[in-house]
């Protein structure tokens, strides 16, 4: 029994962190949010160079065959640096969906392309979690029509879209006619989400049915939780740093008990989330019977704690936190988006109750 990261996991996490610290800074996030498209391409190149898109993909398809815990560690660093690049949909949910049943044709065809970074995959499962008005897909004569919103990782001309209809996971090659993708403007400029309109488009069924859909959503939720963990850690760290520089009343504000206790409460709330997340991520690959429940708890609990951390740390930054000058709002908003996609806290807790047989 070892409840800790292995040396390899530490090295992976450190190397991602190092790469990000060298390549991502606040100016880049600012320029990206102003629409500098070159930034997306550049970061994507670096991420591909490190082999990250293939992290979950088995070696036979050109990936590194690691697990959800490793993917979560990367997501945590992506959250910490608010990285504007496809990750959770393309490199985690899509490979999980395609590899659900071993050795199917679609996996053989697409996983190598995802691993090599040749294509990106967009995942559109919002409606499988819950439908808002004027959304949803339907199948007619094996062609899909309708609208899916808040699809993940659709910003870089995705070659394939993975979505669900009639309790089946389906794959759409965007080279087919009838697919329209446009970005939905949200608070979070670091991670674009897209709306996809399908107009009688050819599909292929990814084997696995409802279980495959659930597993794909599960890993998405765990990864969002990991992103929140990283973003929140960063906000606390920066708030403490700021409190040790900023002076009022001839003292650094970090010497006031009120500020100290705000920071202590954030840290006390967040720290156990790390263990929850590790366990939830580990369970996805190793403890089938707990995978559903733990993904719900990780998502809901980190959404709540993350929102608190975002609010309180902004208060530690004071007026500066409210301005654009420090740019901490990128994390505030990133946490805000993660909270809502693939199910908000109330919805996800309801699922957690159902999984345990409560609420028939």
């Amino acid at each position: 029994m070892e409840f800790a990261l292995s040396e390899e996991q530490e090295i992976l996490s450190d190397s991602v962190k190092k790469m990000l610290s060298e390549n991502i800074d606040i100016d880049l996030l600012r320029n990206h949010s102003k629409g500098d498209e070159g930034i997306r391409e550049n970061i994507r190149e670096i991420v591909v160079e490190m082999g990250l898109p293939g992290i979950l993909i088995s070696e036979e398809y050109g990936g590194s065959g690691l697990g959800i815990l490793e993917a979560s560690l990367i997501a945590e660093e992506f959250g910490r640096y608010a990285v504007p690049t496809p990750w959770i949909g393309n490199s985690v949910m899509a490979p999980t969906a395609l590899a659900f049943k071993k050795g199917n044709n679609l996996a053989e065809k697409w996983l190598p392309l995802i691993a090599s970074g040749e294509i990106t995959a967009c995942v559109a499962l919002t409606e499988a979690v819950g439908k808002r008005s004027n959304t949803g897909l339907e199948l007619n004569n094996s062609k899909v029509s309708g609208t899916s919103i808040f699809a993940i990782d659709g910003e870089l001309n995705p070659r394939i879209i993975i979505t669900a209809v009639d309790q089946e996971l389906i794959l759409i090659d965007t080279e087919n006619t009838g697919v329209t993708i446009c970005e939905i403007p949200t608070i979070d400029s670091t991670r674009p989400v897209v709306e996809i309109i399908f107009d009688s488009v050819d599909i292929e069924i990814i084997p696995g049915g409802e279980k495959a859909i659930q597993k794909t959503i599960n890993v998405g939720r765990v990864l969002l939780a990991a992103d929140i963990l990283g973003a929140s850690s960063n906000m606390i760290e920066k708030a403490v740093e700021y409190s040790l520089e900023r002076k009022q009343f001839n003292r650094v504000i970090g010497s006031f008990q009120a500020v100290k206790h705000m920071c202590a409460e954030m840290a006390a709330d967040l720290e156990p989330c790390r263990s929850l997340l590790w366990y939830a991520a580990y369970a996805q690959d190793n403890i089938d019977e707990e995978a559903d429940l733990l993904s719900c708890h990780a998502k809901a609990h980190l959404s709540e704690i993350g929102q608190d951390v975002a609010r309180v740390s902004t208060q530690v930054f004071g007026g500066m936190g409210f301005t654009d000058l420090l740019g901490m709002h990128y994390w505030f908003k990133r946490i805000g988006l993660s909270r809502q996609i693939l199910g908000g806290p109330e919805k996800v807790r309801q699922e957690a109750a159902k999984i345990q047989g409560f609420l028939s």
Binding site: T126, R132, S133, I184, P185, N250, T323, D324, L337
Partner: protein, 400 residues
């Protein structure tokens, strides 16, 4: 306790509603600070003539000259709010400078500024906070050096809303650098067209520039432009600061938001189920409703206290802290109700009104911080409200 209005007030309310129904076509809309248009200036004049704006300001300074009657003021506010019509021009010149001048200005200052300010001819901005002086406002460093007939001002202000379209600024500057920090400050009126003033918009987390930074380089201000005595600016400013704090965390705003949220819950669905039918959301709604009602009734209590010129003490001290947090929480709830859609911030086919909620969610967090942070509010509540001691002065460590 008597929540019925007397007959005088019933008929006054009727007068106001009649006025509104007859004149509503002339009113503009509430807007983010811009110079008033000709139509708005005319509307303002009409409101002052009727006593719906500048109601208690003496006629000699261009006001309506009525006696103070908080109930009538409230009726006016309520009816204008019901009709979604702004209650005349609202700016910091009217809400903060004018009361200050009335109390502490010279005759000449009153004559020069009050009439022009309430009519909308002269627009003011406020120059208090500085980058290094937020919670510790009295540590402000913008200097005004005595030089013949003028002060020469150098320094920087921040959080100045409307600076780019203002004619004048009322401003705190340090005139006596060697005095204790609260005793070295003076209150100056500065013409924004004076050479050496630069206004830079200050972008906030909302993505808008609701505020500005203002930079002063060798800005000459005639000495006659001081309000109160030299070195007493802190005390001049303080009366109106209290007034500003009372304005933040308005319970009417909370009540309006709650109503909008209920509408939203009745309209929106998730998985085909109306949000209003979700017991968990309803429980959250009821918790918020109890807070909204409590703050609304607290505000009635303050109104009566003000009417009776009695001190509402704790009931007043807690308004900013509670009200701003409540408004923030309401916006956060609306966002949660909308789920993914709640994150939309810009033009989209799927926009169900989240932009407004997100803006409020962020701007209200700014209000929790601004105008005295939540931490400063808690200091005030514990000290002024509960009689607990001030933080003891620390032994300062030697400079490094």
């Amino acid at each position: 306790m008597d929540l019925n209005a007397g007959p005088e007030y019933v008929s006054f309310r009727k007068e106001v509603t009649n006025f509104l129904s007859e004149n509503i076509h002339m009113a503009g809309k509430a807007r983010t600070p811009v110079r008033p248009s000709k139509q708005e200036l005319e509307w303002q004049k009409k409101l002052i003539d009727k006593g719906y704006a500048a109601r208690t300001i003496p006629q000699e300074y261009g006001g309506f000259g009525a006696d103070s009657d908080v109930l009538k003021s409230r009726i006016i506010a309520e009816e204008f709010s019901q009709s979604s019509i702004p209650l005349g021009m609202a700016n910091q010149g009217i809400s903060m400078l004018v009361p200050t001048l009335l109390e502490l200005g010279t005759d000449e200052q009153k004559k020069s500024w009050i009439s022009k300010t309430i009519s909308g001819e002269v627009i003011w901005c406020q120059g208090y906070s500085e980058p290094g002086s937020g919670s510790d406002l009295a540590s402000l460093q913008t200097k005004a050096v005595d030089d013949g007939d003028d002060f020469v001002v150098n320094g920087q202000k921040i959080w100045t809303s409307g600076a780019q379209m203002s004619d004048m600024m009322f401003c705190l500057v340090r005139t006596e650098p060697d005095a204790p920090k609260h005793k070295g400050i003076s209150y100056l009126l500065i013409d924004m067209k004076t050479p050496g003033i630069e206004v830079r918009p200050l972008m906030t987390m909302t993505g808008h520039a609701e505020f500005n930074e203002v930079f002063f380089t060798d800005v000459r201000v005639p000495k006659s432009q001081i309000v109160g005595k030299r070195g007493e600016g802190w005390y001049v400013a303080n009366a109106t600061l209290t007034h500003e704090r009372g304005m933040l965390g308005d319970p009417n705003q909370s009540a309006t938001r709650l109503k909008e949220i209920i509408d939203l819950m009745q309209e929106e669905t998730f998985n085909g189920e109306k949000l209003i039918d979700n017991p968990v959301y309803l429980d959250r709604l009821m918790k918020l409703q109890a807070r909204v009602l409590s703050m609304s009734f607290n505000s009635l209590r303050l109104l009566t206290a003000s009417h009776k010129k009695s001190d509402a003490k704790m009931a007043k001290l807690i308004v900013k802290l509670n009200g701003c947090q409540l408004n923030h929480d309401l916006a956060g709830f609306a966002i949660d109700l909308l789920g993914e859609l709640g994150t939309i911030y810009g033009k989209s086919n799927h926009d169900h009104g989240s932009g407004k909620w997100q803006w409020k969610f962020m701007f209200d967090l700014g209000l929790i911080i601004g105008g005295g942070t939540a931490q400063i509010q808690k200091n005030i509540i514990s000290e002024s409200g509960l009689g607990m001691p001030r933080e003891p002065k620390p032994i300062l460590e030697g400079k490094k």
